[in-house]
Symmetry: C2
Subunit: 311 residues, 2 copies
Amino acid sequence: MSITVVGSIAYDTVTTPFGERDRMLGGAAVHFALAASFFEEVRIVGPVGDDFGEDDFDVMRHRGVDVSDVERIAGGRTFFWRGKYGWDLNSRETLDTQLGVFEGFQPKLSDASRESEVLFLANIQPDLQREVRAQLPDARFVALDSMNLWIEAARDSLMKAIRDCDCLILNDSELRQLTGRASIYAAAREVLTWGPRVIVAKQGEYGAALITGEGFFSLPAFPLEQVVDPTGAGDTFAGGFVGYIAAHSHEDISEDLLRQAMAHGTALASFNVEEFGTERIERLSGGDIVARVRQLREFTHFSDAPVPLRD
Amino acid sequence: MSITVVGSIAYDTVTTPFGERDRMLGGAAVHFALAASFFEEVRIVGPVGDDFGEDDFDVMRHRGVDVSDVERIAGGRTFFWRGKYGWDLNSRETLDTQLGVFEGFQPKLSDASRESEVLFLANIQPDLQREVRAQLPDARFVALDSMNLWIEAARDSLMKAIRDCDCLILNDSELRQLTGRASIYAAAREVLTWGPRVIVAKQGEYGAALITGEGFFSLPAFPLEQVVDPTGAGDTFAGGFVGYIAAHSHEDISEDLLRQAMAHGTALASFNVEEFGTERIERLSGGDIVARVRQLREFTHFSDAPVPLRD
């Protein structure tokens, strides 16, 4: 079943300890779409400006992403972000943000995009997320990402958007901020009472945790000798996670299925950060993903060996 | 086989969002010893002052810890630490440190303590760690903890101490600081070339990772609705980890054994943080530990379900 994603299509200028790239293809919806394209057909919705290149459309088309709902705004400029990462890649500074065509963006979904059974609302203004959500009332699985900015500036609308979703995917620090709870586990369990039945807490270099009514699951990030550019890791994770669910959307979305989806999201994110922007994902094969998921199982497995304990 | 631990025996005054406790029993060696006592006999080596109470000795004796090598320094005061945690318990401020009898401490090991086959060198001046290490030349498993202070102030001695150990247990930020490598995985693999064959990267609320020549393993912290006091979590983890290995020290220290040890350390640490100081561990039973290890397996397990991927 096809997946619709609504969010930013961007150019990123990024400096990390390993180099710099100027105006790379980026944006949450792009990173998500490329990752999810390994599992199902993806329809991407978002605006671009006159400056958006045909070769960047081709990167998406090459992965089978349907770009017919990408709206080109005449006279506009594509969303632009410039940032710089610190030496351990855990801190980053935003040096420039130019909203461009994103200012005043009104998502227009074609009939085909409205017929998707799976929807990902990437991090955009919560009012827009709700408008899009309302256009897919029958979607079987709707996941939403957000950020600290909207928790501060548009809390009420964000709460409503979260209530109408099946799954909230958020950084752990933002889960804390959203709920005022210090424990990520407690924070996630509180959000479960608002409406969603699945919470994913993204933990950056530490991986991600899954909290549902049935249980708790945690998976480390795939260990890498070198992370080159973390930009888009969270959205690539979301693409693998939601993509895997979409590929199984004829089944019940069981705890077991969600855990396998976590593993696929984690594997995809690990490839994303190995090179700048979309460079690595563009060359990725299904076999690469399968191999890394298998390694993740090996990295997290331990056997049961009871030992007599001294009470 | 018995375990010898050398390190601080302390009184801690701790403020967290959930309350305050004045002059609780604490110190790295104490937290370690109480945790390890569930697996093997533990001999604790460290100094206390006139102010150290008989009831605090009893807490250790009650868990079967041998306190005959605890040296009471006449006219001295027990090591004292006062600190305050922030609302999410991930930041803490040291408000007071009084070394007391720890200033000028020279570890004196009895014959019995020197005959232990397992040794834990808790976080103390690296010269002292090396002196103790030299007194147990035939130990089968020696683990060492340290901290940022010694990486800055006594780097050469610390490097020598690490070289002579089987296992380094360190916070992940300190592994970065020690090696200058941004990737924890790369940092650990570098330290493996120095001498140790086992590296444990402690990751606070995220759990811990194990890096050996054979592989990588990662385990999340046990999810808790509320953490009351994180003081001593790392040493309690180390006690469970090293204790489990000691209980199996007649076996090869295999990758599989180390992973099970990680699970037991993680379970013990999770109990430690549920209450102040040693309160929870004093009441703990072997059955509690076994149950939490079983839950940790459930929290990290996912099955293999290949999906056709779209190349």
